[in-house]
Symmetry: D3
Subunit: 312 residues, 6 copies
């Protein structure tokens, strides 16, 4: 089976970079949007019998990106693809992984079911928000970790008295992974409910006084989590300087404004999503091209992914 | 089972009108869009055991409307709905009902499979572009006809020498239905390939000389079909005055401009989609609220839909 | 994977011809019918791991042919076939592709679901009556076109003043394909409802006066369509001489009698179905053996079928 | 839910008799066969929400009867039936319940999968050839026993020295049921392989000398089993007089001739299949109308079937 | 539909208590184990058309309890149950909800798939270990919370200076629920990796000095978590007195011994599992009978469960 | 695809023997049981793309063995196995292959559905109790026959006047297979109901007087069948010496005691299950290692199994 790469419109540059490394058969789809907004995809040549990797993040605008992914998979299947792996560097809707109130949907499961509906054989994601995502999918899913790439990006600017910070409880596992790679201690910020009222305050667990925080998270969306954590850290005596690392840089809404107001020395994100505008000058984008190319190559060659995956 | 109506954001006004007639239990969902563009839906109260009708057209922006529909269905199902019928007045992606070139997807089938993936029990649509749509769905689908409603809308302004016009071959069946209801003759416009070259010209089949055309179609998207038909009709001696009727008024792109340049006496569309802006003053919107309310009521009461459906 | 051909009893001669070209592994099944009419099939040797093509038209008697196809597929699957493609030159029940009246079944979808039930991987058909058939199937379906073969069959007897005739609206796309290949103009015959009554008359669209019609269709069943078209063409001044081409020659009921009464110079059909008796002397059967062999070979070699398929 | 009975063409008289007892809503389908042999079914009125029972044996011609059943179920489902139970008095293809040689299909499982493909909810059969049939179906299946009806039919002509005979090992369980109801002893006939050669002889197990055999079986097809058993019984001293009872009377091929040559005093079969021609004068048909009506009524009323079923 | 309760052997006493409250139709199954260890279940009477609730925890011995549950569901379905809800107070294998190392299975998903394989319609669990369990199931799952029951059990012995303790990060959400109900502050114990080595130490987050800890968790298995937490709390100055609450009391292996060595004032667990032996005298079992009866009654009456569920 | 063997804990020794012959890639799983009794499996290295055979009998304790099998398959699938064949020498729950009383489950079908739920591609069993087992499975199943191995084991001690004995009707087909291989006559023992009462007596069909019985069966569970048969044979004049052969030696409950009391010259069973304790000195275990290795090798090499399978 020939290795074919189909690059969706959400990751054009990252896809080109992966292709430069892999040198696969490329089937660059024509993705049109009709005047009524309907997508229309066409693959340029036959994929019959090939081992096809469809690369498409489902970031903003998430519904269009998702629909494009589904149509690309359908086109691959009808065109005779031998095996279809979707490579979704940023997996949207991951946060809706359970009902948090009556009457909700479970969007992450819906997306998993939609991918099954078009008969995807296998899924690759990078640092999904939900650690148990694979149990939600019927087909095998592997979650690659960009933490080594990001840690390497942080290292040149890392002060000796830095401390890895998990900005909420959901980030603790990931922070431990950073701390191990960087040889640093770790502190946790968590929201504490103030008894008797509904007000919440940030609580800092661990020693941060006089040290430089390295706030890490799986994604930066509006920047609210990073800002709240930084405020709490400063109140607990952290140095007024911060490093930030996150796999997915969405930077939506007030994020650019918020980040510019923080004393960020270095902000590192990957190119799982196209670059945002208005980022602070300290921002750096490190690429996951080698990570993805390595994972795709191994899958194609039937080699294990184990050391590329962050097991919990 | 109680009859519950869930109105999606694509058809708020039509839904309200249907609800006024049906007086169902209403479960008006809260549909939010997070800063990163992800949809979040919440049903306001339990639907446990109810006979639920989710009303949502999948018009522009089609991918968001579709995703909202899928999430609403998932929320209904997890909340214990007894039976879920999706009522999709305008069914998007219907035109991609086969591969017209190698490498394409079949988007209409993909959408059918997505609705199956969230376990819809039954589907209602109105005048879909693809007449054989029901064979594409695994669950039963009924296609209601808005032609009687539109024909009634045309009647007050109908000149005695009017002729129903099918602007292409795909519209012939529907034009016959109008012609029968209005007691008018019919002509057909079709694109003819001019032998030896790739140029195509419009051909008019039937007598139009000196008569007023009533161009009908299932939808008006960019207005190109209506414009091309009108030009051909004028060249064949039609009166410089035209009536137009279509179930679905998308009016995207150059449509408002194009339509304003035509000598349209009366343009009738339904409210299957929210009203467009910039329509010509001759435009009238007739409501399918009674049609939908009637169909929903009958389904709930286990009565046949037969006379509401246009069988081919 | 070895290429294995399993020839059902419906296409014994065509299958032999295909096998002569392909030189595949042949697994000629023993197909018995017990005294109570039950079919019993046995494959002669193991197909374990093979790339199996089961050739069986589902023409008259359609239910037996279909059941034989389903049992052959089951025997292949239980015997370990690696991949099963059904090659169905004539796909029966295609005309029942939607409900045309309340209370009907959709037989074409039922057949598609039966083929899925025995887990067919892929389907090949030739010129199916329903152009959107592929959207009805869950597995990939490719519709080969026999038009080039039939056009080549017509060419030697083609007068210079011939005109391709679509005998009804459903045949227009196919007629355009003939017209393009033969470099001829095209006319359309359609049934026109005579206003105020339920009587219908044939209408001829395009210039036929003094010219020789070449009536084409996907199939000739009872011959009624061809006869009605010819009568209308003669009334519009066509020469009293006609050529006829159709992919599938069923020739059931009054067909032989009807065709003998027409001034047919040349009638060309393929061998998608076994030869009928009582055909006019002008009848010629051209073989689709090379078309099928070519398609099977390409599928086996993972090559595209694109130029063998008539995209609409 | 209203109880609706849909009577297929295979059991018209039995269906009428069941309907006389049940007085259900009747939805008598129009079953046409087109000139090309394709079936076309239409239900006369809406079944929306009803509890539908489709009655159709799959006897000769088995493939047509089966296809009619599948199309009727599809029409019921698309028409909105609330629940669909197929009542198949004679279930064809039951004997092909395993592969008895390499390369075979398992037709009984294929039929079970076809019924699942059209989404039958539940199945009723009468005395199927395969006792473990229910494990082959995904949906619940109940096997009614006609033995009490047949035993009652035998009783008036039963000599006091009668002996129930199982004509092969597969009939032993059923023979025990007859013997218990009639208060008679039982003997078994089995084919014995004569060591060293492939010749087989019939062996009689139990005392038959001077007694009247009552040969029972689930079905009489060509009559071969009954004839061979009778010959062996006569060789072992049975009286030259015999009673025969079988649920399903197919009487195909040489059966009428063979049976006329036997000294049959009384032959009792049910009306699970339409009456055959050329039966001996001693033949009597007893009806399972009450058995089926009783079972359908109980299913509709959610009552147990237990005493109508022969558990093994 | 009649409400029927089927009580599996894992929860005989709890089931009896639920039945006393609900007064349902009871279908007490006969559950035998053959000499070879194979389970055999029989329902005592028909459940045809009923709304059936099968109550069975899947605690130790988990595989037998699970198999019994699967067989009971199959017996219900074949017997014609109208709707089947499995009520699984303790859901085993929940901790294997993702792969924590290469080569593992995801047992929680396997169990979800097994329940789907026997066609369960709906699932009720109580305080599952995995908060996102519902996204792992295809059918709707509701997770009832026993925290109010347990909090009520704690209240009589609660000192005024008590502090709710989450013994690890996974217990924080649940601890917040207790803290809110009891009006107490909360502290967290977490395992901290000591940098440079693989040794881990317990870290206590929040003020515990001189106060009485109330350690809460979803389950007590070997008691290791509670013991480690208590040791850390004591080291941080907690009073040498502790209250413990957990929904599920497995008390396997060294648990009784370990617990007896702790200064436990009051230990409260529910009867989701049968009582263990050797518990400390301070142990109290509070019943979830009313919780389950209430939930079942509401599901049967199509009422919402919302306030019985702990949304995260 | 590389051939990989995964040996479950139920057949460790047999698996080692098979591996010695096949010399496959071995992926010996770590199978742990947690203190709460939950299984945890881990595969030692990647199986990505391999042709994997999971060997696990489902004998006592059947539920644990079955669950281990299901988890091993899940681990293989998630780890990327290319194809998964379960090799189940002893298939438990086979006797529950139909409902023998109202209210029962069909455990054999449940197990088949569970194996489908974890997406097994193919199943191999040895001499299953139910001859029609393959029709119960959705995926292809082949039933290997150990009769040649057992017959070879009997031959050295076979007296010249031996007679093969089928101890009940279900064993007749298998006894015929032995008789043919050994060149011996056959007799049948069956339970005869004594008319008018519920007492049953054993009946012996065929000549046994003065001869040595060779009782054969698919399995020896409690030994009851063999004992009852022997008693009847002795009463009919058999020599007080017996040979016994069975594929599966469960020897549960009173079996060792019962067998020691019989005059068994030679008892032969296979190693489909681990050796029991307390067997009589005359017991011999013959290995099916070559049979399994041969079958696995052929499946891997896409060769037919036909002569290894006992077709009925």
């Amino acid at each position: 089976m020939e290795l074919t790469l189909v690059i969706g419109s959400a990751n054009q540059r990252l896809g080109d970079a992966v292709a430069l490394i892999l040198e696969p058969d490329r089937a660059d789809p024509v993705v049109e949007r009709f005047p009524d907004g309907e997508l229309h995809v066409t693959l340029p040549h036959s994929l019959r019998g090939n081992d096809v990797y469809v690369l498409q993040s489902t970031g903003p605008p998430v519904d269009q990106q998702l629909m494009e992914l589904l149509l690309l998979v359908d086109a691959c299947r009808r065109g005779g693809a031998g095996r279809i792996t979707t490579v979704i560097p940023y997996f949207g809707y991951a946060r809706q992984d359970r009902r948090r109130a009556p009457g909700e949907a479970i969007a992450a499961r819906v997306v998993a079911d939609l991918l099954r509906a078009v008969r995807v054989d296998r899924v690759l994601v990078v640092d999904p928000h939900t650690p148990g995502l694979e149990a939600v999918f019927e087909m095998p899913l592997d979650a690659l970790s960009a933490v080594p790439v990001l840690a390497a990006g942080l290292r040149p600017t890392l002060p000796t008295d830095a401390v890895v910070v998990a900005p909420d409880l959901g980030a603790v596992k990931r922070a431990e992974s950073y701390a191990a790679l960087l040889g640093l201690p770790m502190v946790i910020v968590r929201k504490r409910r103030i008894s008797g009222t509904s007000v919440r305050a940030e609580e800092v667990v661990g020693a941060i006084d006089g040290r430089v925080p390295v706030i890490i998270d799986d994604m930066i969306s509006t920047g609210a989590t990073v800002c709240a954590a930084m405020q709490a850290l400063l109140e607990h005596g952290a140095r007024a300087s911060v490093l930030v690392a996150a796999t997915h840089g969405l930077f939506v809404g007030p994020a650019p404004q918020r980040l510019r107001e923080l004393p960020i020395e270095h902000l590192v994100v990957t190119d799982s999503l196209p670059s945002a505008v208005g980022l602070p000058p300290s921002a750096e984008v490190v690429s996951i091209d080698r990570l993805l190319a390595d994972a795709i190559r191994r899958l194609h060659d039937d080699q294990p992914l184990d050391d590329l995956v962050l097991f919990a």
